[in-house]
Symmetry: C2
């Protein structure tokens, strides 16, 4: 089946935001075995949206729109789609009630009157109720073409696709498509591609596709078969082969993130962690506490952004700070050891480095980062070069990922 | 003038990457006073690219393609454009020489033979030589339609636009577009729109458009005029009017973020901050240290994710924790006061709440959050309801934003 994505929003045409909804949906459609031939973006303009819909219905089996479902006068996606496909809009009292309740309970205020139009949906559609926002989505079929409408804000769009649209789409495809994601840290996309070129080129079902992500990469193995079991049987040897070829840079299959893997290892080994952060400034704690249930394994930590906090809160000896500077191996080691004692955790990690934009007062280049891990058995420390000129955000993200990878390797008994 | 962007690349349709080239180019076109009506993405498929070009030439004055200029068999942008617009390709010896030199000096190897096709360019075109990669771009005019071809890799695309395409386009346009962003926290998009409906509906130049962002919203005022000065003169009274209408929920015009505004206020008043975080788990520290130069105003803080860390690192009295529970006003106040002393900062903020997914052991609902701000003059505390069922991430983000808004209001002498 062929799908076409139409994003609606003048903010996209003004370059205010990138069309990340299209990327997210395309990736998920590919995993469902649905081919995408076109992405189109139009502004909040009913004529141009209508033209885009007319064109799309001649060449696609599935049209997915994103955006234009809000309560304001320029949100015209539903109206334009209904006009193009000859449907009426009708008020869904239950959806209106949900929106009213959302305002009362989540936002603590009355629903403004113009939000009523969010409860107007095409006659006979499948409603995608939206528990994470006010704009419901919906879908209907007209002359063999399925039209799905999703909200534009990326968080809502992702939730609605994963929990509403994907179930709708699964019923349209025959056979099942199963995929597994092999997550990799510490090897670049082109090296992964080179290592897997031979199997990748000759595969048709299952297939392998590498994806570059920020600071890491991923290989998706996908198989199509009559049943889930048959698809799994096709995938199982391939996934094993990829894991074996790539070795311990593979940090997991179908896992959420490096921090999720490290957290699971801590949980299984009944260990607790704390973190002393300088250049990452809370990012490690933030990433680990993004995960529900973090309090079982994470005790807390200190964001020792200044030397005074390193010395007086963590207890790093001032001599070390003076002699070696804050960005140094001795300070990284001391930060981890002090944090472990202070927070009473089994393990503690630390990071100190230069996130930029400028080098530090001792001439350490942007991207120079020391990470350490303290445990009962002692302390290990690594010096990283997280890339000069890659921007503060990239340096900090890379440093935090390296900490989680160090933790994973330590807890799994892998070479550090 | 109307422009249309056509991106060529199957990797975009697979969701491998987002079309950030389109965002970058759109933003720059808007600043040049060129209006974008469509973005289109097609795969490495000459038929669908030809169709997209045929459609675009009927509705745009300027067509800008990105991607498909590489040396491999699936790079077909130039060939397809030439076929559609009836031009021949010709070999540019000087460009071929540049590509050969690039391989020798930058990559240290001989140019593979298939790179010769990168030196084939449409007869009579303006060549955009590429000093940051191998694929040159180019532009030509045919029957009043300008066609520009740029390479796909974002770094090369940006360079080529800024240093080659923009000069070509500047000659084609008259007038400039200027816009200002009015940033709002504490008022929803629909309420903002209701408040501004009257002026918004009757405006044609300048215009107003509201945008919803995560936990906040923004109104963009845009004007078109002959000169930047004339555009600013159109905008200035409108921006003032919007700010006056909306009141102190406007946290800034053309500012980056709430945390940037709060940081600037701290910097101007020569004050330092620290943070004691429970449910936000490092997010406040992370957001403030995302900004370069944070060390001048942010001393650090404690991520007191567990009661033990609240008591033994921060120094919150255990009686308070026992009597009121961790999610309570007395504990929030104590966290901020202890953190201020511990880190030696002028101000300290604290957050304690229930991020979810479950309510806490004292029956506090998900989204119940206490935030506090301690200063020399005393401590203020607010109880928030950050929305049950909106997901951990939303609760945490909202709580952190409220802390920055409290700080902004305190430092600006606004009602809290």
């Amino acid at each position: 089946m062929i799908a076409e994505l139409i994003a609606v929003g003048t903010e996209l045409l003004l370059g205010n935001i990138a069309n990340t909804d299209a990327q997210m949906i395309s990736e998920k459609l590919s995993a469902l075995g649905i081919t995408v031939h076109h992405h189109t973006v139009v502004g909040d303009n009913p004529q141009r949206l209508a033209q885009a819909l007319e064109t799309a219905r001649t060449r696609a089996d599935i049209i997915i729109t994103t955006g234009g479902l809000g309560p304001t006068y320029d949100d015209l996606t539903k109206q334009t789609i209904c006009k193009t496909f000859g449907r009426e809009l009708e008020l869904h009292e239950d959806i209106l009630e949900e929106i009213r309740t959302w305002f009362q309970t989540k936002l603590g205020r009355e629903m403004p009157e113009n939000n009523v139009q969010q409860a107007l949906l095409p006659v006979g559609c499948t409603v995608f109720d939206n528990p994470v926002g006010t704009a419901p989505g919906c879908a209907f079929e007209e002359n063999g073409v399925h039209v799905l409408m999703l909200p534009g804000p990326p968080f809502e769009c992702r939730y609605m696709f994963e929990h509403r649209a994907s179930q709708y789409l699964e019923r349209l495809t025959d056979g099942v498509i199963v995929s597994h994601e092999i997550k990799i840290f510490g090897m670049g996309e082109s090296s992964v591609e080179e290592a897997l070129r031979e199997p990748m080129e000759h595969l048709t079902n299952p297939t392998l596709a590498p994806y570059a992500k920020l600071n890491e990469c991923m290989v998706r193995a996908t198989a199509k078969a009559e049943t889930r079991e048959a698809a799994e049987a096709l995938l199982s040897p391939l996934v094993s082969q990829v894991c074996e070829t790539l070795g311990d840079v593979v940090y997991g299959v179908d896992v959420e993130s490096l921090e999720a893997v490290a957290s699971d290892l801590l949980r299984k080994q009944n260990l607790t962690l704390s973190a002393a952060e300088s250049c990452t400034g809370g990012l490690i704690a933030k990433r680990i506490t993004d995960l529900p249930g973090a309090s079982a394994i994470f005790r807390g930590g200190v964001v020792s952004y200044t030397n005074a906090v390193k010395a007086h809160v963590l207890g790093v000896p001032e001599e070390l700070l003076e002699q070696y500077g804050a960005v140094s191996e001795p300070v990284a080691r001391s930060m981890a050891e002090c944090c472990r004692k202070l927070c009473g955790s089994d393990l503690a990690v630390s990071v100190t480095g230069v996130a930029g934009p400028d080098q530090d007062d001792r001439g350490n280049e942007v991207g120079t980062v020391y990470i350490a891990l303290a445990s009962e058995e002692g302390t290990i420390c690594k010096k990283l070069s997280c890339g000069k000129g890659r921007g503060r955000d990239r340096v900090r993200t890379a440093a935090a990922s390296h900490v989680f990878d160090l933790l994973r390797r330590h807890l799994s008994g892998l070479p550090l």
